[in-house]
């Protein structure tokens, strides 16, 4: 099995889908000759040609709009946003045109919008954002946030094949830091299924994307230093949310700590809090707690960004509080 980085795995998944299905197209800024700002589509233009690898002007609303039109013909366009922060520039097309199309008039929009999200690389306020909740709160979309190279390939392939619009947020901190064996097979990781990354009976850490490793590190430390056995759930897909995996872990550990890199107020932890109260209030032996980024823009300077982001130490501290509860 070849060893691949997370970013290579995304590219590999897209390449395979393009080989498999001529209906799959790529559209975005600098994705052709240059192969994309992070080289996800490197070599695609030479191999697949300019009709399938469309370099666009700096026009995010045109990228998404044109992809909608193509998808209406049964094509499966994949839009690259150079940094996911620029998704704000096509917010209207996504939330009003794309998300509501099938509900309103039965026109499916099989397309993917993908790009590099997340912080930890000193990208500052406009190259580090985590916009997932804007879209989790928009009925009609699916939202995917892979944490491993294996998942990155399997999930992007599932996203391309899905008959609904999928937002695929790649974490740029993981792009080259995650490196692992990835099968060459044509496999998919189904959307809407969380994964248990570590089993434990004392408390459950629910997380996704770059925070998965942070939680695994924290769990390791908690095991060693406190003898606490933490279960770690990687959500993988935020919408639709895999409630069952969360609830069955809760039934075992009776305590949930949600960790997300997204800012605190209105983050996914709140949605999970409401969901577990509705579904399993009597299973809670303590409050759902959360470790998140601060409610600020993402600051630029390294000490500020570190202070802003969650890390293993913050997770350990919160987990200890929760365990003691």
């Amino acid at each position: 099995m070849p060893v691949m980085t997370y970013v290579q795995a995304v590219g590999r998944g897209l390449w395979e889908e393009m080989e498999r299905d001529p209906a799959v197209l790529m559209i975005g800024e600098d994705i052709g000759v240059y192969g994309g700002a992070f080289k996800v589509t490197d070599g695609f233009l030479a191999h697949f040609g300019r009709e399938r690898v469309i370099d666009t002007p700096i026009s995010e609303s045109a990228i998404v709009g044109a992809a909608v039109g193509m998808s209406y013909l049964g094509l499966r366009p994949v839009c690259e946003l150079q940094f996911i922060d620029f998704i704000a520039c096509c917010f209207n097309q996504i939330t009003n045109f794309v998300a509501k199309s099938h509900y309103r008039w039965g026109a499916p929009v099989p397309m993917v919008i993908r790009g590099p999200a997340g912080g930890g690389v000193h990208g500052g306020p406009f190259h580090s954002q985590n916009p997932e909740m804007y879209f989790v709160h928009t009925p009609g979309l699916k939202v995917v946030c892979p944490s491993s190279a294996y998942d990155a390939k399997g999930l992007i392939k599932a996203a391309v094949r899905d008959n609904n619009p999928v937002l695929f947020f790649e974490h740029k901190f993981l792009y080259r830091r995650v490196k692992e064996e990835v099968p060459e097979d044509d496999y998919i990781v189904p959307l809407g299924q969380a994964a248990v990354r570590r089993e434990g009976r004392d408390l459950t850490l629910v997380t996704y994307a770059a925070m998965v490793q942070v939680c695994l590190d924290a769990a390791e430390q908690l095991e060693k230093e406190d003898g606490l056995a933490c279960e770690v759930i990687d959500l993988r897909t935020l919408l639709p949310l895999d409630k069952e995996t969360i609830l069955s872990s809760l039934r075992k550990t009776n305590k949930l700590l949600v960790v997300h890199e997204d800012t605190r107020t209105g983050g996914i932890a709140g949605e999970i809090a409401a969901m577990v109260m509705e579904e399993a209030f009597d299973q809670l032996d303590g409050p759902l707690m959360r470790v998140t980024s601060l409610d600020t823009p993402v600051p630029y300077s390294p000490p500020l960004e570190e202070y802003f982001l969650p890390n293993a130490a913050k997770v350990v501290k919160a987990a200890r509080d929760l365990a003691r509860y």
Partner: protein, 394 residues
């Protein structure tokens, strides 16, 4: 290209159907049968009908709210529109959405608009590009208002379409007003066709109250697209003779202006023309009117007989879960097309392979640099164009 007698009668039929359908909607609105507002295209029927009539069945449209005429030409029946406006279960959207917000990807090839103005432009460019990739020579046409032409997505969509030479006809329906906003508060332009100059595409002006002119201008634009020469912007000069919607008395529109445009009524003008040219008989006219009357009655009866949708339908259809089979319809072998070259190759010594031909602008003389230049490095130097530079190197 000249229209046959039969075609003239069809154009007349569609314009009258458009108008009388809206008259009926207004009556039903007053009877409180309509859900939401009614948007009138009184005086603009020639634009909706003439543009849509220039398309073939394989071509695509996406209507704006005042393009019911085009929706009819594309094959929808009054019943469909009446049910949309009355939010009935049998409407094309089953009551999920109203007014002109509906469409059909298979039979009619019509894309539903959304309320946000301008968003359809890149979508229709995408339809054109997608069809081209599938080997299908299909043209996409949509409309935008004088007001809608101020949106950012108008710019992004048309610029992208121009660069990609997408087969897109954009009809800029300049009816002089955007809600209460007169044109001179919308843009510092006399001719909105000038918007085209920012994209290096043709911007043509047509008398929007002259259905034959509208038809023929659109036909030419469609042919340019069919040839692969890329998008065309048509400015149709016309006038919105009612308020923005039923609730708006349009007190802000000067009386003289209204009167002037009443005199240019596209249907009356066309009637006079057909009569002067002896293109119809009185009987044919009456038959058309009688047919419209009958069709509207039938449509209304059908619409009123349809129940409101069952409440639980509200919860259905957010996702497409196996309810549609999604398959692209190829008109050529779906093999990878010729690989692109890299940028350096495109430039090297020859005309860039992907560079769009520059249309009108190519023919212009090289322009002097505006503003003074300092001597020593080329006083009043002409700015050299790439092409010239390449020549010199050889």
């Amino acid at each position: 290209m000249a229209l046959s007698r039969q075609q003239h009668l069809e154009l007349y039929y569609w314009m009258q159907l458009n108008r009388k359908l809206e008259d009926l909607l207004t009556v039903m609105f007053r009877q409180n049968k309509v859900v939401g507002g009614v948007y009138s295209s009184l005086g603009q029927e020639a634009t909706s009908v003439g543009t849509a009539y220039a398309l073939e069945k394989r071509d695509w449209i996406a209507p704006m709210i005042r393009n019911l005429g085009a929706v009819l030409v594309k094959g929808y029946r009054p019943r469909d529109i009446l049910m949309q406006y009355t939010a009935k279960s049998g409407s094309p959207t089953g009551g999920k959405d109203g007014t002109a917000h509906f469409g059909d990807l298979h039979e009619k090839r019509m894309v539903s608009p959304i309320s946000m103005l301008g968003d359809l432009i890149p979508v229709m460019a995408g339809i054109g590009l997608g069809a081209r990739y599938l080997g299908r020579n299909e043209v996409a046409l949509t409309w935008i208002g004088d007001g809608g032409s101020s949106t950012g997505v108008f710019h992004e969509g048309l610029n992208f379409a121009a660069v990609q030479r997408a087969p897109l006809v954009l009809v800029l329906e300049n009816n002089q007003w955007a809600y209460s906003t007169p044109n001179y508060l919308q843009a510092r332009l006399i001719d909105f066709a000038d918007r085209a100059k920012a994209y290096g595409i043709p911007g043509v002006i047509v008398d929007g109250n002259d259905v034959v002119a509208v038809y023929e201008t659109t036909k030419q634009a469609v042919e340019q697209c069919r040839r692969g020469d890329g998008p065309v912007l048509i400015e149709s000069k016309t006038f919105r003779r009612k308020g923005h919607a039923q609730h708006d008395p349009a007190a802000y529109v000067p009386k003289w202006m209204l009167k002037e445009w009443e005199a240019k009524d596209p249907i009356l003008r066309y009637e006079k023309y057909l009569t002067a040219k002896k293109l119809w008989t009185e009987k044919e006219k009456n038959d058309i009117l009688a047919r419209i009357d009958r069709e509207l009655k039938e449509g209304q009866a059908e619409a009123e007989a349809s129940p409101l949708p069952p409440a639980e339908r509200a919860a259905e259809g957010v996702y497409c879960d196996g309810c549609h089979e999604i398959r692209a319809e190829w008109k050529r072998s779906p093999k990878p097309v010729k690989p692109g070259k890299n940028t350096a190759q495109w430039f090297e010594g020859k005309s860039p392979a992907l560079a769009p031909s520059l249309g009108a602008s190519q023919e212009r003389k090289e322009k002097a640099v505006v503003g003074p230049s300092n001597p020593g490095h080329g006083k009043n130097a002409k700015l050299k164009k790439h092409k010239k530079q390449r020549k010199q190197r050889k």
